[in-house]
Homo-oligomer: 556 residues x 2
Amino acid sequence: MNKKIVIIGGVAGGATAAARLRRLSESNDIILIEKGEHVSFANCGLPYYIGGIITNRESLFVQTVEGMSKKFNLDIRNFSEALSINRDRKTVTIKEVKTGQTYEQDYDTLILSPGARPIVPPIPGINEAENLFTLRSVPDTDRIKDWVDHNHPSRAVIVGGGFIGLEMAENLAHRGISVQLVELGEQVMAPLDPEMAAMVHKELKTEGVDLILNDGVTAFKNKGREIVLQSGKELQSDVTILSIGVRPENELASEAGLSVGERGGIIVNEHLQTNDESIYAIGDAIEVKDYIQQTPTMVPLAWPANRQGRLVADHIHGKPAAYRGTLGTSVAKVFKLTVAATGNNEKLLKRLGKSYETIHVHPASNAAYYPGGSALALKLLFDPQTGEILGAQAIGYKGVEKRIDVIATAIKGQLKVWDLADLELAYAPPYSSAKDPVNMAGYVASNVASGELRIVHHDEIDEIVENGGYLIDVREPEEREIGKIEGSVPIPLGELRDRLDEIPKDKTIYINCQVGLRGYLATQILTHHGFEAANLSGGFKTYQFGKDVAKTIQYQ
Amino acid sequence: MNKKIVIIGGVAGGATAAARLRRLSESNDIILIEKGEHVSFANCGLPYYIGGIITNRESLFVQTVEGMSKKFNLDIRNFSEALSINRDRKTVTIKEVKTGQTYEQDYDTLILSPGARPIVPPIPGINEAENLFTLRSVPDTDRIKDWVDHNHPSRAVIVGGGFIGLEMAENLAHRGISVQLVELGEQVMAPLDPEMAAMVHKELKTEGVDLILNDGVTAFKNKGREIVLQSGKELQSDVTILSIGVRPENELASEAGLSVGERGGIIVNEHLQTNDESIYAIGDAIEVKDYIQQTPTMVPLAWPANRQGRLVADHIHGKPAAYRGTLGTSVAKVFKLTVAATGNNEKLLKRLGKSYETIHVHPASNAAYYPGGSALALKLLFDPQTGEILGAQAIGYKGVEKRIDVIATAIKGQLKVWDLADLELAYAPPYSSAKDPVNMAGYVASNVASGELRIVHHDEIDEIVENGGYLIDVREPEEREIGKIEGSVPIPLGELRDRLDEIPKDKTIYINCQVGLRGYLATQILTHHGFEAANLSGGFKTYQFGKDVAKTIQYQ
């Protein structure tokens, strides 16, 4: 029963599907159609090649057409564009890009892996901008790198603060170019909540990136050399990268009558079949379910694409294969900082009207007495009733994505927040503490979920104090000198037990310290002495980052 | 209901219990009895202070007696030795070390956290050895550091290749001392299986450590300057560290009639109570259950001690608290190498007669095209029938303990090997690959568990070939030049499909490549063409490390 399987799109998911299909059968015809020259190239590496971090262009090609054809006995047709799917006769019309000739290729099973393309909005002057680039493919990469190599730009503007925008900011800066980053929203990196993104903002500023938030481009002038923003500000640019997001390549699918969702993603069932069961779709072009909420979403990342490629091949071969949704685990290097997240963020949970609680901790990446460690900001989102873990975000210089990986694993293992406290993780001074940051987040979240600890959040405390709330700052005087919450009453932790009679008995007492730990102790002391007390989660540190975002919004 | 809680031992578990007890109640009397000067010091940091990596001695003191007393309102009595437990009248007899005076301290609840002490066997000349040290406490550390600082030793001998032995080897080498390491067994680092330990052996040799395996000390001569080994070899030493293991401090418990196990550990129930329910015991001194097998074991590590300290405090306060056993997740830095493990190893599973399977993979720590990545050796142990994950070991230069933490979390989440393939872990080129090493191990293990892939192991293949087995090496000729398995037939993967008629049809065909990946492809090709085929797990790389151990055993 020799089958003819045609795959459209030879990167990530498409290439994975082809390789897996061959491992499962030697007899099927596997035809890989790719519009561009290259298959299975390293899309996630492209910014680093432009930045000169990756020096060898050849290393971007994970597989060559020739090598992959031979290894997996594939019929790879590059420079071939699929023009239409003719479902009635189960064929695809293909154009040979170089010759312009077209032909029909029949299939028994079709896999669509077309990906997504950068959004290019119809901004006045955009078509005349000679120095404007988007980044998706190897030719895009070559164009940007050529431009930088030959024109030696001194000023770059990045439009859009997502993963590609930030990676390009870092890589252009690495080449000695002065970078301005324009972001329409109040923050970069959508997977993060604002108080966490504020740490990324700080890093960008520290590294000399001029970050312009809450602003967008209204016009390109002088062949793109001048960029006019909504705010009226005008930027000079020698090279501009447009990275405001991607749009699924859904035309082929929708023109063939395959269902496409509101967000433009091709609709698939859990076996990744479209509404035509002989046509599968995978990767950036499809709509997936959010793993936790099971609501529709689009997550253009490499892991889901590769996983889906594998599952489709398995399903075609009659193996049980179901894709349950995407957690959206992600990580980015932003200069020296590592930023990682998994699951739902607070913005999403709010929008969906879900019941959730959050805690912030700032533990050290490894034993404080061992050199090279540094603080890690970890935010955990959970259901306070059930203890279900809903998501996490982490930022720092070391051991960041490790903690997110552990939490992503815990989510798939259906562990609860109290189970995080019970995770037995690898400890030696260079790597962690005897109580790992994930353990610590688990302890704090369990204390909150069990009602042992009442907390208040960084974005609530100002209003509380303004309305007459009593806030005790249990830090030492020298810490307050660096910064404090207006209206807070200083009582260092060590003096608290002796000064209980200074504290009003008739109202809730709020506590803050630097990162939340001493505040927790103080909250417990007060509670055991009959006070109603609540701790500021994440302490002054989280509060301060929360304020930084607020400031940006207000004054920009 | 004011309670008097006495804790014996102020490090790790004892200190954690004290702090947690206070957080749960302001009214109880909490008395912490510590024989030495220091409480809550950084035991795991001691080797690094000797090595000069940690430069500030003060940073070893996580808490001071004064600071901790004040913060947690504790009655800390250092320089106080518990001489006996008088269970009939619920008191402890305590000796003030400095004055010699004794007194009885009554308790409602007693927590034993005495730890374990280094084993010092009665080897001839050991008491006369002036340059011989063990390492457990801050005074031990000071003695070693003083000796090194003042005597400028040029040659050190480490006896025992466990965690402390290896960390001391690295730290003494870091001070410019030439190090010899003597280990009685065939390998260092007991949590590892031999073929994995062989990589540690290689690193030690690369770093100039003279590793002497399968040998022990029979005598110290010339005040310890000469060390005679079982093999007859004589070593010269300027400073010797004895680190052959620890023995639980169980005398206080056993003399009070508390049950002690075969291994010397104090016996406790799942609430960490001894056979006297008002006496708890925690830390290195107790016998625990292996988390996976639920068999008794001793695991002297920091995480279990701290976790147990917390649980005991919770249980005393009527909270549900149970300790389910120790996974034994561990990590060590051995020069540039990171070595980590969790769960059961093959040696244990064999001894227990359990059904298990193992796979070896050698993926890159991060995207191969991004600089700074390096190969990671990952061994996964699992039940091939149920898919249950039994343990894992990982060795490499980057991202090592991250993968072990993920697998340790997967074990606690009761995930199966096929779930490892489905873990959505954080990917960007500096951190991982779109298919993380853990995903890859999951895929290989699933293929084996499902019967899709038949494998053979590094320690079986020589015998198979000797008995006429047909082994194909699918690597390229230039790879074979560097090393090959004797008797293997070279057919590069790319030529396999064209040379099928050279391969015998009447017997099982064994395949090897470099790390197992191409071998897997070759095995699938042969299987689909009607051959019986099996892949050498971990390829030539794992085979070679397996041979290195064998060689050491044979020739040392």
